[in-house]
Subunit: 350 residues, 2 copies
């Protein structure tokens, strides 16, 4: 385990998320635990993804694996944004090469009303226990990041039954059946808000709300069909006192509205130059925004891109270095370590 | 066949693309011919997609089918942006539910160098003949739209071997093997530029360059790896004298660079409010930008969205009404007709 001196201060990531000056720019990676690591794949040979999530000691182990390789400033708990749909009453499986499958999907108001209220402390105890284990293992400088899916992104999986390109069924419900949409979004909102609060109680130092697919929406649709629910989730998360990161991808035209919805930190993907995005999110801190595929570039090109992002951040406090979307399966772990070290070295402050 | 009086003027779409005042805002739809039409599916029962493309009379028939249902201002020739990869020497098939498959893909400089130069008049004669047939059938007010894929989008299919979410192999080649990338992009550029010119000679009144997946790139990557090639294609298309539409999706941060690359008309998807996008593309005309999934909304909601786009265009000449990406398979043809009629009615100018 990476151990550094405990100095009583909050983790670097927490301080940066609050816009405070830190000794270096903190760095972590979405999907930093998982498929690109051989030691994760070894565990997956005998355990399914859902089994790992259901067993706190395994989830904690997988969460900690990347921290043994590189000095990231945070460990993000190994879980899946769709875990809460199981206690809500849906059937979730991960099909090989297909990603998540929810079958049958939710397609109408009756389906939305049939979703159960969730006692998160009980139903999602394995993730909360994993957070406790990880928090107990890590030094005080390293943050534990808890997370949940935002209502729109979870709803889209529930309605489509899996990943989607055009979100036909999701938008059809939004546009055609406001009662079903509202019922569904409220149930998800309440589950997710409770889950985030429970994660902070369990020891998460920061929580991230993933609205991964919200970039499928126009600003008007976001404002009308998504913002009220996301806002409720983000307010509940903020009320815990832990900093809240609000993440989406493909959100170049949604940044102001996402900022309005809430969060201490707004995530940017690589399509928005970091300085331009940061200028649009008011006083919030910013997270991002390396293209995860840049980790496939030769080292000199990767270094150039890391340096460019740091230059755009201009050493201003409140920047959390991350990728703009999750790491992909064939990423070289050595490239990940290279980025961590380069960010730390180049951002070291006197 | 829809027949209106021949008045000697260029088609409405052509005039709007040139920024001229027209009697109404012209409207057409990407993928307006195809899977959502029962009469197309009837033909597909006995003919594959590639067979239809290879037989000019069938391609022309499919192109004209939507025009028998509604008074669109243009017929877009039925073809596929990947047709040119076949005479370039690659193996293309359309797998059920999977979309296009290119196997083996192009992964290195040797693969790029092995691609053949294409005599477009010979190798792509079926599409050119289909354009001649369609042009002969349509009245002078209705434009025939020819098209080709932009170099980046075609390259991504060649390298990935099909559709992709993360474009790992494409970006890996871009970042790691500049010689392979340049060779590949030049070969595609030359084929596509020649094909567009041949389509105009065959009777296309307007051509559209589809850079459907370019929204995967940051502005810096677009400028460095894509713009020079797209620019060459667009210049060649502009040299024909026909107006050129430059289309991409997810391009909220690329609009200025796409405008710099070229085109008389810049396509916008629904993520960018039309007035805001139009203000960013200089003196160009604008095409868009209804969310194709809005056609699944109830009629009053669909009407509201059509009217909103027209209001944002403000009746200023130079707006081509379209969807922001192609129509999807289960779209109701009656909804498409509803949009055509509403655009014509609401935009009629004295």
């Amino acid at each position: 385990m990476v151990v550094s001196g405990r100095n009583g201060a909050a983790p670097v990531l927490v301080r940066a998320a609050r816009g405070e000056k830190t000794p270096h720019t903190p760095v972590w990676f979405m999907r930093q635990a998982g498929r690109y690591l051989p030691e994760y794949r070894a565990i997956r040979e005998t355990h399914s993804l859902l089994e790992i999530c259901a067993r706190p000691e395994l989830a904690a182990e997988v969460t900690l694996q990347p921290l043994r390789r590189f000095a990231a400033d945070a460990a993000i708990i190994f879980a899946d944004i769709l875990l809460p749909v199981i206690p809500m009453g849906l059937s979730l499986r991960f099909a090989a090469g297909e990603g998540p499958v929810i079958d049958p999907p939710v397609r109408d108001a009756a389906g939305a009303r049939a979703l159960s209220a969730v006692d998160v402390d009980d139903a999602l105890a394995s993730t909360l226990d994993a957070i406790r284990l990880v928090r107990g293992e890590l030094d005080a400088e390293t943050a534990v990041v808890g997370f949940a899916g935002a209502p729109f992104t979870i709803a889209s999986y529930m309605i489509e039954g899996g990943a989607s390109r055009s979100f036909v069924e999701t938008k059809r419900m939004m546009y055609s059946d406001p009662e079903a949409w509202d019922t569904l979004m409220r149930r998800i909102t309440s589950t997710v808000a409770g889950f985030l609060a429970a994660q902070v109680r369990a020891g998460a130092d920061v929580v991230q709300v993933f609205d991964s697919w919200v970039g499928a929406l126009s600003p008007d649709d976001y404002r009308r069909y998504v913002l009220p629910y996301s806002s409720e989730v983000l307010r509940a998360a903020e009320a815990t006192g832990a900093p809240v990161i609000h993440f989406g991808a493909g959100t170049a035209t949604l940044l102001e509205l996402m900022t309005e919805a809430g969060g201490d930190v707004i995530g940017l993907d690589w399509r928005v130059p970091l300085n331009e995005g940061w200028a649009r999110i008011g006083g919030c801190a910013v997270q991002g925004n390396l293209d995860p595929i840049a980790l496939f570039a030769p080292r000199d090109e990767l270094a150039r891109r890391v340096d460019d992002i740091l230059a755009r951040a201009g050493n201003r406090p409140g920047h959390l270095f991350n990728v703009g979307h999750g790491l992909v399966p064939n990423t070289d772990p050595a490239a990940v370590r290279f980025v961590v070290d380069r960010v730390h070295e180049r951002s070291a402050r006197q």
